[in-house]
Amino acid sequence: MNSIFLPYKMGDLWEVKQKDPEAIILAGGTGLLVFLREKGLHPHTIVGLENLWELKQIEMQNGEIRIGAMVTHQQLLESPVIQAQLPGLHQAVTVLGYPPIRHMGTIGGNICTASPAGDTLPSLYVLNAVAELRTPTASRLLPIQDLIKGPGQNVLGRDEILYQIRIPVPSPSAVSFYFKVGQRKALAISVCSLASMLQVAEDEQTIVDCRFAWGSVGPTIMRFPGLEKNLIGEKLSLNKLREFGQTAASMVSPITDIRGSAEYRRMLVSNLPSKMLQTL
């Protein structure tokens, strides 16, 4: 590496990117520095985002919760707004890594890494999160599922960064949930995970809205809006969610790897929705 920049102003970031469009973005480094070392890569220029204060804010605006790309997992964990409004996302960061990883790692880094096992992703999918991307001259909004293309792949352009994530404030009667199955309790990459969001009518039975997103069972996070629609208007029951889980399991094609077999993963896809109801 020939140079590293840690700009304090967005303008200075763009200047670095304009001089060297190949400059690699450094967020918390917990993915990038491991990756560079594993591959023996020495990028010419690294530009870190850690001093850009506008990327480190969590704010409420226009009925949305806006989370800067450089907000760390620890900040999410401690934020009263996230605890109160987005308990599923809060749950996800409690099981992500271990303290120093949460102190360094960021939500933007977790998203851009685009791992099917990324712990914040399933929750962001069920929350209908929208990513704001910026270039030196323009900004665009993309639903989270359109930002992520495949394992380790996102659609960011060469001179583009992930700027913030916008999440519509969920209805107060919606409940959200995140469950991660790993090989052990701490420091485990998920074998299968499920985020869900459920809203029932005043009769406390009829499903008004529901969303489910599984991690680690496909090339990206898996969500089945068609199946979700079939549940709307139905009465909430363990059986309904079992059936729903079984249908979803027939639609995923998980892989077998050192962490678990395809069959084990399929079983988890099937079982986790009803497990959610039991823990509520």
Partner: protein, 156 residues
């Protein structure tokens, strides 16, 4: 490139390469070999240091990222010959065998106790979950953290 930071309270102005990692800066350039490196990829906690009082992994940080910050390593925990209460408890409770994990364990404990002065055993386990030890079987480490917490509460 020249970087400015404090190491255990002392001002440092150093010239270092842009790709120099913090763990190498500490061990190779500054001779502070208390901080250990085992995995080099974030998975063992041996290289844990405090940056502005917060635990971070020195194997996953570049030296340039220290600019303007305050670093505490295991060398900065004791006051001269007087061990820090966390270090004392580790010794007293038999939480140190080969000692390779100990600097990281002590730094992770320091981070925990300033957030939560009275952690229960489950919280201690969670806080140290990423710090691997191949010798002790962890029970004595958890005993040591409990006893250090009690000691530090009494002192406060």
């Amino acid at each position: 490139m020249i970087i400015h930071f404090t190491l255990n309270g002392e001002n440092k102005n150093l010239d270092c390469a842009p790709d120099c990692r913090v763990v190498d800066l500490l061990r190779e350039e500054l001779g502070h070999t208390g901080t250990k490196e085992a995995c080099g990829s974030g998975e063992c906690g041996a290289c844990t240091i405090l940056v502005d009082g917060i635990s971070k992994l020195s194997c996953l940080m570049l030296a340039a990222q220290l600019e303007g910050h305050a670093v505490t390593t295991i060398e900065g925990m004791s006051k001269g010959e007087e061990l820090h209460p966390i270090q004392k408890s580790f010794v007293e409770k038999g939480a140190v065998q080969c000692g390779f994990c100990s600097p990281g364990m002590v730094m992770a404990t320091a981070d925990l106790l300033q957030r939560n002065p009275s952690p229960d055993r489950k919280e201690i386990r969670e806080a140290l979950s990423g710090n691997l030890c191949r010798c002790t079987g962890y029970q004595k480490i958890i005993d040591a953290v409990e006893s250090a917490a009690a000691e530090m509460r009494d002192d406060a």
